[in-house]
Symmetry: C2
Subunit: 422 residues, 2 copies
Amino acid sequence: MSDAATDAGSATGPDVVGTDTVRIPTLADIETAREVLRGVSVYTPMEESRWLSSVAGGPVLIKAENLQRTGSFKIRGAYLRMSRLSLEEKAAGVVAASAGNHAQGVALAAQMLGIKATVFMPGGAPIPKEKATRGYGADVRFHGHSVDDALVAAKAFSAETGAVLIHPFDHFDIVAGQGTCGLEIVEQCPDLRTVVVSCGGGGFLGGIATAVKALRPDVHVVGVQAAGAAAYVGSLAEGRPVALKSMTTMADGIAVGCPGQVPFEAIRRYVDDIVTVSEESLSRALLMLLERAKLVVEPAGAAAVAAMLDSPDTFETPAVAVLSGGNVDPLLLMKVIRHGLAAAGRYLYFRARIPDVPGGLATLLNDIAAAEGNVLDVVHERTSATLHLDEVEVQLQVETRGAEHADRVLARLRERGYHLSQ
Amino acid sequence: MSDAATDAGSATGPDVVGTDTVRIPTLADIETAREVLRGVSVYTPMEESRWLSSVAGGPVLIKAENLQRTGSFKIRGAYLRMSRLSLEEKAAGVVAASAGNHAQGVALAAQMLGIKATVFMPGGAPIPKEKATRGYGADVRFHGHSVDDALVAAKAFSAETGAVLIHPFDHFDIVAGQGTCGLEIVEQCPDLRTVVVSCGGGGFLGGIATAVKALRPDVHVVGVQAAGAAAYVGSLAEGRPVALKSMTTMADGIAVGCPGQVPFEAIRRYVDDIVTVSEESLSRALLMLLERAKLVVEPAGAAAVAAMLDSPDTFETPAVAVLSGGNVDPLLLMKVIRHGLAAAGRYLYFRARIPDVPGGLATLLNDIAAAEGNVLDVVHERTSATLHLDEVEVQLQVETRGAEHADRVLARLRERGYHLSQ
C-alpha cells in the first residue's frame, strides 16, 4: 500500500541528520525552484466550487493538482531534485521504488532530463500505472509484494550500479519543489484564510505550508491524513518521526508509515493542525468530486475535501482544498464509487430470503418498488447450507435517494416479513 | 432515452415555419447573446490534451463544457431563451420535459430569472438528476416512461396553465445561446483548423458552427452522432428533418429522434461533416478522458473525442474537441467503465468449467496467474442444469493488459483443456 518505506530516508544520504539540525527550504529556495520548473510543471487551475462553498458557508476553491502532468504534484519535486544531480550522477541514472505517483513523476522527469530511470514496483501494482511509467520511458521491474519489498530491490540496485535513489519525500529538493504549488495558491487566491492539503510522507504539505506561511503568516494550514495511516499525529506528539506499526487505507498516495525528517521539520514549524478522515469520508468526497466538480481524483486526492465535508464549520473561508492527484485505477474507481454510494445511503446491498414458490421473487420486487427503491441487480441463489428446503435466497442491489430512504426501504421489507441480511 | 420528442417544436410556436423560411441566428445575434450571458454561464477552460495530441499528430485542445454550470452547455441557451420572455410569460412560468441536462439548465435559468419552472421527467429518471433539478428550485413531476411521455404531460400542463414550454433545441434563442461557446473556442485557439462537436437535436452543433464559420470560414466543423441515434445523417441526405423510427444508445444527451428545424438549417449551411461513433467508441473515449484527462464526461460528452480516436488522421490540427457535458449517473459511470475496459481488452468476463475436486479452483487460478491475468472476482457455482455432476462452473473477472494479452490468457486456458464460455 505504502508509497514509501518505514525506514524512510536511510538511503538518501547526508541531508537526513536528525531533526534538530535538518535543513528545510526557505521561501527563496521555493522561488528558485519555481524558476527551474518553468515549462516543466503546469500552473494548475484553481476554481471556486459552488457546492463546497454552499456547504462551508463561504468561498471554497479547488486547486486541481490532479490536472498536473503525470496526474499528480510529484513531477514538481522529482524534476527539481533530479535537475540538481551532478553530471556523474546523471550518467549513473536514477532508481525509485513506487507503485504509483512517484514512479510516474520520476519517469517523466528523467525523460525530460535525459537520465535513465529504473523503477521497482511491487508485484500487484495496477497495470495502468505500470503502463504509464513505461510510457515515460522508465525501465520498470517488479519485486516482492509491497513497496517496502520494492525499495529493498531499489536500494540493492543503487548499491550495485551507482544509480541515485530518488526518495519520494524526504529530501530538501523534493520539499522545495512541491512547495511551488503553494506559491501558485497564494497568487490565485490572495485573500485566502485556510489551506487544506492531504499528507502522507509530508513532502507536499510541508512544501506548501512553508511557502504559504512565508507569504501569509496568518493563513491557517491544515494537513489531512487517512485515519488508518496517520503517522504525523503520533510523530508530532512525540516531537520526532515515529513509524506506524501497521496501516490500512485505500488511499495509496498517502499510505506512508513514517514521516520524513525534512518534511517533518517543515510541518512541525508551519502546519497548524493535522486532521484525519475515514475511508467512508474519502469515498464520499471522491464521489462528490466526480458528480459535482466533474473531476477525477484518487482517494488521497479527495482527502482535503473529505476533511472539509466532515466539519465544514471549522474552516475559515476563503479556503483552498488541494486535490493532490488523479491517478486512480478504473477498477478501484468502480469500487470507490460503489462504496461512496453505500456510504451516502444511495446504494443498498442485502440478501433476502423468499419462499420458493412461483411469484416469490415478483412479490419481493413489487414490495421494493412500492418503497420506491430502484432495483439494479438481482442474483437468485437456490442452494445454501443455511436455507430451508422451501426457501431461496436473493442478493439485491438497490438504488435509493439517501440514508433515510434506504432505512425506509429496509424497514418496509422487514414489516412485510422478509428475513434480511448483509 | 431521448431528451426530445419526435414531434419536436410543434408546441414552441411561430419560429418554426418550415425549412425554407426558418430564421437562424447570425454572428451578431450570438455576440448579443454573449452579453446577456455575462456572469451567467462560465467561460469554460480549454487546454491542450497531450495524449490526444500524440494520437492525432498535432495539437488537440479539449473545450471542457462539462465544467459549465449545471454540468453541460444547456444553461447558455435556456437562460437566453427565458431572459427574452415577456413579463406576462415570465409570470406564467415555464415548463420542460427532460430526464437530463435540459432539465437542469431550465431549472437554474428559471431560478436566476425568478421564474417558476415545472419539469416533467419520465419515471425511470436517475435519482441524482432529479435531485439536481429540484436543487435548482424546479417543481419536478413524473409522467410515463420516456421523455416523449413526459413531453405529452408538459404540453398538457402548458395548455392548462399558460406556462411557456421551453424546447431543448428547436428555437432561435436556444441556438444563439449555445453558439456563444463557439465564440469562446475561436478566442481560445485563434489558429484552429477543425472543431468537433457532439450532436443530438443539433442546438449546440448548429450554434457553434454558425459562430465559428462566421469568424473563420476555412475551419472544418464536424458533428458527431451516436451510430444508434444518427438522425442528421438521413435528414441531411433528404434535405429536411426526418424522424428516426427507433434509437438505441447509452448517450442520452444526444439520443434525439428528429432534428429541430432551426438547428437543421444552421447545420445544413455550416457543418462540413457528420460522423457517427459506436457505443464501444463512446465508452472507450469516456474511459480515456477519465484516466488521461482526469475529467468526468457523460457518454454524449465523449462523442467528439470518440470520433477523433476512431480516425485521428482525418482531423487537421490544431483541432478542438468539445466535451458537451459531464452529468453521468455514477451507476451508469460504473457500467461504462466496465464496458470501456472490456472494449479495450483490459477486462475479461468469462465462465470456465472445472472438475469438482479439491484443488480444482486453485489449479485454474494458477493457470490464469501463469498467463499474467489479474483475477478480480470469482463466483463459484455448484448447480446448473447444463453441468455434469462432477463439474462446477466458475464465473471470472480478470484484468489484462490489453486485447492481445486477453487473447493470450484465453488461448492458454483452452490449451490447458478448460471449457470456456461468455
